[in-house]
Subunit: 348 residues, 2 copies
DNA sequence: TTGAAAGCGCTAACAG
DNA sequence: CTGTTAGCGCTTTCAA
């Protein structure tokens, strides 16, 4: 049992050196597998044993001070709480960091500008090697200026002048893929319930919807578009509205899984079945919603994990090669969304 | 604009001292509002200006090395991804830490023992002042021994010998409150769909259920208990089973919101309405589920945010007063669950 | 092959 | 009131 009173000092390198009968230098070389130091196996053995014996553990703070590398990455996010997507981004980021033995210093600023500013300061003081600035849905952000003291990558957001590298989902191809899933099953009257908020996802998915129609030579019909709030209520109302049309759609592409859930409710109230009467496709692949609906919802998965991963990987590159050519035009990366096929789309 | 090339060295205290024409000590005293150093306002002014002018920022690593305080708390969690509850615990923990200007070093070990071990090592090397060990649902855990080198608090879990302080939800009173909500509306035949997994929540809520019945002098009927998987499927099947009884229940207490969602589905298939034919109460207050069901689900909220907060607050106490009397019997704290009333309970 | 020594940026006891 | 000085634990150059 390694239990040790919290008050006693932890063993330092000198302690190991003393016990092994060598100098601190030697200990350092051995424990770090120093590249060109040629220390005889026997001495190495002795040092390692001594270290193990007294339970020596390197002090990353001291090492960090000396080598000015904190092995730490800051992760700032707005509202972590509500979205399960947050977890996936963090997980992706952490996994990528873990591979390089870096740890994430997490701060959730909950939409508070002042806190955001302080968070960046605190991270900078702690000498983070870089910062990931993440938001819980794809949108435009303004970043505190001091953040530029250190390499930074924007995750699921972007800034006005694109002066910082960013990674976001490809909303256009996402909307297109979703719509094509319907078109492939011979649906031709496809409703689109869009989010009323003026966000990139709304514009992008709408564009993708139109692209898909065009690709299949289906004329665009304004009547089939309905713009509502992106929650269950919105979906329910929007769906009812669409189904009241003289020529109602045989399929509906919903901006979000919540809206799809609302559509299910509306359809049920109208005694229409999914997918036989109306096919439905959602967006988000909400783990808690999509698979549990009856029938399970076909929907688009957002690449949150991958984006988180990419963000850190890219950040690590920037850290290792700060003078990379990127300075003038930081990369704005997009990840494709993938179709998750379940049972809410039937053949027309 | 504070932009600065990433390669140039950051200004240090000496730079400030030089510019202000004083010694490093003075700078340190001024910038830290040193308690007993009586530095004339004028000098202070000069120092502060100098610091601002060159964009000085204290180096927390150096400070940490010197004062052996990292101002950092480790937060280890199993599977952050799937559960939205995770976010609430983290948020609570962070908010409590933030108040003391501490930051969280986050590692999600995803059920991997080896990774867990390494995570603790990495955190200890980084001199975290303490560690929160969190799980995404209330259960028994075994903790890597080295964690005891530093104050530790278990969040939403506990260890066999209770040798570490922990905070968990009070499952018994939770189950009792839920059941009483039904009893208060004059329901007397109350079904209980329990989780088949042998976890504290299952045993505790069942006990609470029985306590409530007893308090209302309602005889316990084994037939009304049904043990299923805690997902939507389980809830659906269990509910059908209960409703097939010769004397079916007029109300059902479900172990989880997912199960309640399944119950809704089953009831709908049986052409029974909630809450008129059958009242339903869930557990978890899943933000994404409970309010969006039709009718909105009355359910028990788990105190995740509060537990996260408490965990850090308690940890900070342990850090500040390591020799507190707690050594022999670490506190095992419980937080009450609260009833969230929506529309799934009707008067009998 | 190993050790001495300098120093990362900061704090704080001690002098002056 | 302010400066000198001695480290915190580690890395790494240089010399032996």
């Amino acid at each position: 049992m390694i239990k040790r009173s919290q008050k006693t000092k932890r063993p330092s390198m000198s302690d190991v050196a003393r016990l092994a009968g060598v100098s601190r230098t030697t200990v350092s070389f051995v424990l770090n597998n120093a590249p060109h130091a040629n220390i005889p196996p026997e001495t190495q053995e002795r040092v390692r044993n001594a270290a193990a014996q007294i339970g020596y553990r390197p002090n990353a703070i001291a090492r960090g001070l000396r080598s000015s590398q904190s092995q730490t990455i800051g992760f700032i996010s707005d509202e972590i709480v509500t979205s399960p997507h947050a977890g996936q981004m963090i997980q992706g980021a952490q996994d990528a960091a873990w591979k390089e033995q870096k740890l994430l210093l997490l701060v959730n600023i909950d939409g508070n500008r002042e806190m955001e500013h302080m968070a960046v300061d605190l991270m900078l003081e702690r000498q983070v090697e870089g910062i990931i600035y993440a938001t819980m849905y794809h949108h435009l952000v303004t970043i505190p200026e001091q953040i530029r003291e250190v390499p930074t990558v924007l995750l699921d957001c972007f800034c006005q002048d694109r002066s910082l590298p960013s990674v976001v989902p490809d909303e256009v191809t996402g909307g297109q893929t979703a719509t094509e899933a319907l078109l492939k099953q011979d649906h031709r009257r496809i409703g689109f319930m869009n989010n009323e908020d003026p966000i990139p996802a709304a514009a992008g998915r709408f564009e993708g919807y139109k692209n898909a129609l065009e690709a299949y030579n289906v004329p665009f019909d304004e009547a089939l578009i309905c713009t509502v709030s992106s929650d269950t209520q919105g979906g329910r109302q929007g769906c009812k509205q669409l189904m009241q049309l003289a020529e109602p759609p045989s399929a509906i592409f919903c901006f979000s899984d919540f809206m799809a859930m609302g559509a299910y409710q509306a359809l049920r109230e109208l005694h229409l079945s999914v997918p036989d009467d109306v096919a439905v496709v959602g967006f988000d692949n909400h783990e808690l919603i999509a698979p549990t609906l009856v029938p399970p919802l076909t929907t688009m998965a957002l690449p949150h994990y991958e984006m988180g991963q990419w963000a850190v990987e890219h950040l690590l590159k920037l850290i290792d090669f700060p003078e990379s050519s990127e300075e003038e035009s930081p990369i704005q990366h997009k990840f494709e969304c993938t179709l998750i096929e379940r049972e809410s789309i039937g053949r027309r």
